[in-house]
């Protein structure tokens, strides 16, 4: 799409673009270029000079069991966060959609957790499950379950998943509810006249009609789990125990800033760039389809 009528001015458009292009060049393209460049070198122990290793960092990375394990951790974590937050949100949205009066009040009560930062969500859940003072941990102990996410891999993963999904339910709820309300009532009523029960109507009519929303949310939630949950993991587990909750983004940080392994961290950044690129392509395919509907 283009404007038919435009202004003619030689320098003004460049002046208008300059601030954004400047910030983008300095803080996006230069660092991204640096990441690609650094990924081909190994700095010597004194940081004085670097040795060119070509794809050596990548070869090393993909033969490193910890890195491969981090891929698996990320997959498990993202799948669990996405399923849990979308499942809970869909349930709540279906319930809210059945209510004619007062669904606005429920909406207000359900959307605000979106404003809670992931790191704060992490602190809240850490408090409930703290092995020493946490209320939920204490009650679990009282019924004979010895909760300690500091030592137990599965419990640590469960806790970061729940804390991450908790905050994302609001977002999914909002979009599911809008999607449900966009479905014409007449379609559902026709099925009701044919005698289809509520859940039958849901699975045969409502859920298929909701699929564009579901697919869109699937991509958004995977992106969220991959890149925005750093705060949850940093506050609750710090990637532990024994890297059990070290997702890819956390590993870039841990190797780059704590481990000071810049070549490996840069190579990991490049791998993540490719992952983000693929996710963006998937997202745009979807946007294109939506336009053609």
């Amino acid at each position: 799409m283009q404007k038919r009528v435009v202004f003619n001015n030689r320098l003004l458009p460049y002046a208008l673009l300059a601030p954004q292009i400047l910030v983008t060049a300095v803080f996006f393209f230069w660092p991204a270029g640096q990441a690609i460049y650094q990924s081909a070198f190994i700095p010597d122990p004194f940081g004085l000079k670097s040795q060119f290793v070509g794809f050596g960092n990548f070869e090393f990375l993909f033969s490193d069991p910890y890195y491969l394990a981090s891929f698996q951790t990320t997959a498990v974590f993202s799948a669990a966060v996405t399923l849990l937050s979308m499942g809970a949100a869909l349930w709540l949205a279906v319930m809210a959609d059945r209510i004619i009066k007062g669904s606005g009040a429920y909406r207000t009560l359900l959307i605000w957790p979106y404003a809670v930062a992931p790191a704060i969500a992490g602190v809240l859940w850490l408090f409930m499950f703290n092995p020493n003072v946490g209320l939920v941990a204490w009650y679990l102990n009282a019924i004979g379950y010895d909760w300690n996410h500091v030592l137990n891999d599965g419990e640590a993963m469960g806790l970061v998943v729940v804390a991450s999904a908790w905050r994302q339910i609001s977002y999914n709820f909002l979009f599911f509810l809008a999607g449900l309300q966009a479905i014409p009532r007449s379609v559902i009523e026709a099925a009701a006249i044919d005698g289809a029960s509520f859940w039958k109507r849901f699975w045969t009519i409502v859920f298929p009609l909701l699929s564009p929303t579901t697919f869109f949310l699937l991509v958004v939630n995977i992106v969220y789990a991959f890149f925005e949950t750093f705060g949850v993991i940093h506050t609750i587990t710090g990637g532990g125990p024994q890297q059990a909750t070290t997702i890819l983004v956390y590993k870039v940080y841990a190797d780059g800033f704590i481990g000071q392994d810049l070549g490996s961290s840069a190579a990991q950044s490049v791998v993540l760039l490719v992952v983000v690129g693929l996710l963006t392509v998937v997202q745009f395919r979807y946007v294109e389809r939506k336009v053609h509907y």
Binding site: P13, P19, A119, V133, V220, T235, G256
Partner: protein, 281 residues
């Protein structure tokens, strides 16, 4: 009209009950944090903690605000405000200008610039932290507001949003402006900017929350406690080693950290929802 599908009696009652149960489950962590922020350290150190608020509200919030643990919470709140406002205003300002250039002018390399901005969609700061940190450090931006704000203000999303909106503005307006002898700057200030009010407000709400809730970037860029933002500073309040955390003060801080963005969402719900839908298009 929809009476045919609507369940009556027990069905409606069950629907309300499951919604209330869902809301209770979602609100419970916040409620517990609030209770913890009104009791003493001793009450928490001897579990189970009480389930009803205690009388120490003012004491704990006062301690947090005036002293905190590493740095007072009022200072961290101020840093967060500067950062969130800087990011929101900065992003809007640079994006609206570049979108204006791309939509309303024809000039060499227009599409090159468009794609350069577009590419930044794919580069969240989490992905390129180490090199971006090095660039910021090279400019001497550690422990400064410009270091907290500038690397986060370039974004394709806001530029796209304004571009989409400008494309829907009728061409007759610019024709009329030209007939009246108004130049591009007059047209922008007198016509386009007032028309974009709602879009700017919706975007502001979303970007304020985005800026306020930043965690990883402030964690890297601020090493001095007096430059900490509240969302990243809360992690610094936990003791290292086996010392017991001061939970009442930490929980009071957590609640104060979430109050501004939550208030924005609740009181500007319409703009918030519009912003959310717009930015995901």
């Amino acid at each position: 009209m929809s009476g045919m599908v609507e369940k009556r009696g027990i069905g409606t009652w069950l629907t309300h009950m499951s919604l209330i149960a869902g809301i209770a489950a979602i609100c419970f962590p916040i409620y517990l944090a609030f209770v913890a922020s009104t009791v003493t350290q001793q009450e928490i150190a001897r579990p189970p903690m009480p389930l009803l608020p205690g009388p120490h509200f003012l004491e704990n919030y006062g301690t947090a605000l005036s002293q905190g643990i590493n740095s007072p919470v009022w200072l961290m709140l101020m840093n967060s405000s500067v950062m969130a406002l800087g990011i929101a205003i900065g992003k809007i300002a640079i994006s609206i200008l570049s979108a204006y250039a791309i939509v309303y002018f024809r000039f060499p390399f227009r599409m090159v610039f468009f794609w350069l901005i577009f590419l930044t969609l794919m580069l969240p700061v989490e992905v390129r932290i180490v090199p971006t940190y090095e660039v910021a450090a090279g400019f001497g931006m550690l422990n400064s507001y410009s270091g907290l704000i500038l690397p986060l203000i370039a974004s394709a999303t806001a530029t796209f949003l304004f571009r989409q909106f400008f494309l829907t503005v009728p061409d007759e307006l610019i024709e009329a402006a030209r007939v009246d002898g108004a130049g591009p700057i007059r047209f922008f200030v007198d016509i386009l900017l007032p028309m974009s009010r709602t879009n700017i407000a919706a975007l502001f709400v979303i970007l304020f929350i985005y800026g306020w809730n930043q965690y990883l970037w402030p964690l890297l860029i601020t090493t001095k406690p007096e430059m900490n933002t509240i969302v990243m500073g809360i992690k610094q309040m936990f003791p290292s080693g086996d010392d017991v955390a001061e939970w009442p003060v930490i929980m009071a801080t957590a609640l104060m950290a979430m109050l501004p963005p939550v208030a924005v969402v609740v009181f500007m719900q319409g703009l918030f929802v519009k912003g959310l839908v717009d930015t995901e298009k």
